[in-house]
């Protein structure tokens, strides 16, 4: 790799202050620090530093999303076949590799648009501020396509990504400064700006305009229980369409990365073992969801309220939100106790919104965004608790 190092050395004088391409220094720095850990040494304080840095941390999150991504691509391909054949059973006979290829053709453009637009915006801000690319968007850029319905127009993804990066993050100061989760900002933007493209029956299967197959999701069908015209007569009818195993393994329609709880749990395993994702938040988020599910069971009255509480955890975006969205350390609570409260309330609210608010079939996105905004308040009280302990010490002393 000496060869590559020499090239960089040769180019460096052009990009430093006073060089020919001084303005493009952030771009050069980004490439150089990606290819080589820079030769910075400690100057003050501790002379040695931990091997960990933000690049490796973020890369680990991306690695944790790979199972979801691979399954999502396959699942998207599968439902595209369903739509094409107009029959759910027939598509099971198609080779997996064909489905994967079909799915890739749908998902890859989403990823390319998300990264292309997001990194482009980040670079512009980086150049304005004179710093190299900070790593936050590497994760957001992958999360955004995973939260999109397969059929969403690419231009919308581009617009939403630009909105999320500019309004959600850069105006606050960039990576580490955002108030709400960037990827969810993108999704929420689309949800409210182009609702017809983000929910309803039409968007979940690629190419559903012409067919006779219902393109609804489990959540969409469930929500009809709350209306006058339920999609199924009762829960057992629903369960024939969506079995617990189907929902857990992920062979149901939905956003690209959210359907397979199994793949998400693989990712959660990676996050927990490496310590990058907060176990506190994940566990309390699931606990909160389960608690609200049980509470609704206790109320009962219609099939949606009666659905087993665990079912809530494996359908829709609940698991994906709990593992990848709620755990975003910047927008979540930052104190250890705060994380537990934050996660629990997040899970609780997600199911509450999902079941009781007919306008939003999925509550996870809104619940996490709401908790993002509440997180500083939670932290305030946790910190105040710590401060009060110290004050009490003076009084008792």
């Amino acid at each position: 790799m000496k060869f590559l190092e020499n090239i960089l050395h040769k180019m460096e004088p052009n990009f430093v202050k006073g060089g020919k391409y001084e303005k493009w220094n952030p771009l050069f720095e980004t490439v150089a620090t990606f290819a080589f850990t820079p030769k910075l040494v400690t100057t003050k304080g501790s002379h040695i530093r931990d091997g960990v840095d933000l690049k490796r941390t973020m890369m680990t999150v991306i690695l944790a999303m790979v199972p979801c991504l691979i399954f999502g691509i396959y699942n998207t391909g599968h439902w595209e076949m369903v739509a094409a054949f107009g029959d759910r059973d027939l598509s099971y006979s198609v080779f997996a590799i064909d489905k994967f290829w079909n799915g890739l053709m749908i998902v890859l453009p989403l990823i390319v648009v998300s990264y292309g637009v997001g990194l482009g915006v980040e670079f512009i801000f980086g150049m304005l501020r004179g710093h190299s690319l900070h790593e936050g968007f590497l994760v957001s850029g992958m999360l955004i396509p995973l939260t999109m319905p397969a059929d969403v127009p690419l231009w919308m993804v581009g617009v939403a990504t630009a909105f999320a990066v500019i309004i959600g993050k850069e105006i606050f100061g960039g990576t580490g400064m955002n108030v709400v989760n960037v990827a969810l900002t993108a999704r929420a933007f689309l949800f409210f700006a182009y609702p017809t493209s983000m929910s309803g029956d039409k968007v979940w299967l690629a190419g559903t305009e012409t067919d006779g197959v219902s393109g609804a999701t489990a959540l969409g069908d469930l929500a009809t229980f709350m209306s006058d015209k339920p999609a199924f007569e009762n829960l057992s009818g629903f369960n024939q369409e969506y079995s617990a195993w189907g929902a857990f393994s992920g062979m149901i329609p939905g956003s690209v990365g959210e359907t397979s709880t199994l793949a998400i749990l693989l990712g959660a395993g990676i996050l927990i073992i490496t310590g990058v994702g907060s176990l506190r938040i994940m566990a309390s988020f699931f606990a909160g969801g389960l608690a609200m599910g049980l509470l609704l069971n206790a109320v009962g009255g219609n099939p949606y309220l009666d659905i087993p509480a665990y079912f809530h955890l494996i359908i829709g975006g609940f698991a994906f939100g709990a593992v990848f969205m709620a755990t975003d350390p910047v927008s979540a609570s930052q104190t250890a106790n705060g994380k537990i409260i934050y996660g629990f309330l997040g899970g609780l609210l997600a199911i509450l919104i999902r079941v009781l608010n007919p306008a939003y079939p999925e509550g996870v996105m809104l619940s996490i965004l709401f908790m993002n905004i509440s997180a500083p308040l939670i932290d305030y009280y946790v910190i105040q608790g710590n401060i009060n302990k110290r004050l009490k010490r003076i009084k008792t002393a």
């Binding site: 501790s46 931990d50 490496t274 350390p329 010490r393």
Partner: protein, 453 residues
Amino acid sequence: MSKSINIRKGLDIRLEGESAKKIVVLPISKTICISPLDFHGLNPKLVVKEGDAVKAGDAIFFDKAHESVMYCTPASGVVKAIVRGEKRKILNILIETGSEQVYRQSDPINILNASNEEVKSIMLANGLWPLVKQRPLDVIADPNQTPKAIFVTGFDSAPLAPDFTFILKGKEKDLQAGLNALSKLTSGKVHLNINPTSAGAELTEMKGVEINKFSGKHPAGNVGTQIHHVDPINKGEFVWTLNAIDVAIIGQFFNTGKFDLSRIIALSGSEISTPQYYRTLPGTPIEQIVKGNVKEEHVRYISGNVLTGDRKQLNEYLGYYHNQVTVIPEGDQYKFFLTKGWLGLGFDKFSNSRLFPTFLMPKSKKFVLDTNTNGEERAFVVTGELDKVFPFDILPMQLVKAAITNDIDGMENLGIYEVAPEDFALCEYVCTTKIDIQDKIRQGLDVIAKECM
């Protein structure tokens, strides 16, 4: 009541190059340096001129803020040079030593018969006072205050730290005398904090003090950790701190009447061929200590340990308080991201996170770490990682942020009075942001010193 405490939050950084238990006596260096910079916040007023002859124990300068605190030379000879920086700030005072060390002799004092005021004035006048530090602020103790307690740490848990029990062998009497002297300075208790596994009879059989046992990970040996778990500092209170080696130096003066600052220091680190102990004076050139014992040329010399020590060049000097010199490789090389860099497998990277396979390695595995920061500075993104190595009931990240933003109320509320920069050394080590946290805490303490003390 003496306490027994196990520190669970923390990190033992396992480095190569531990010193062998063998002492080499170094001859007194031709030049000995006393630097006012070793004492944070000191504003020195010289009492000697270039060309003056001095004996070991003669005052060289005093503190303008506390004129009674004398700073004395550890070596006899002639004041060769007073090195000044820009704006004539005094950087170094160089003493050219003679062939033989001449001490300013005073009479041995029986501490038990001396009054509290006598003990204090003897320590002030004879250069022993700078060994006593105070919390809050982590500066030299203000002699006008009365501390609520005095804490003496009996071990050092930092990476490659010297073994206090080994250094203090045969110094029981000096240590006891020192502790007796300290007990005259406070109305409260003198706490001696020891590690139950490594402490020998030298430490465990001291009288007239409260002996607390601290086991577990670094920073168990940091006096800040010990104070927090035994008798935490509240706003308005003062605690004085020392380590057992310095206490023995104080005791030795009372027993012999001789100001002998010579220390047994550990020379350690992966770049040292034969790591071992040396007897030498503070202010000895680093070159003389490491001579012929360094494997590579491109290394970093550290007076002190790798977490809190001062970076030194070969022609600079051993710090006043340091019981250790560490030599580690410099890390100013580019590292290709897939091999040695940020995305490599990282079998050579020691990390408190589990992002490297080294967390699976057995505890006996030691590492060679260099001075590379392993990444660029970033904003705070990862949360909770500082808490894992910070055994205080204080929120470290919030306190660091308060210090960075000069938020005085925030710092006070979050516990700045209890901490010293060294308590944050591990936080600085593990932090993904690569921010110089110890420096931020020091700046915060300076603001507090100016505004609130």
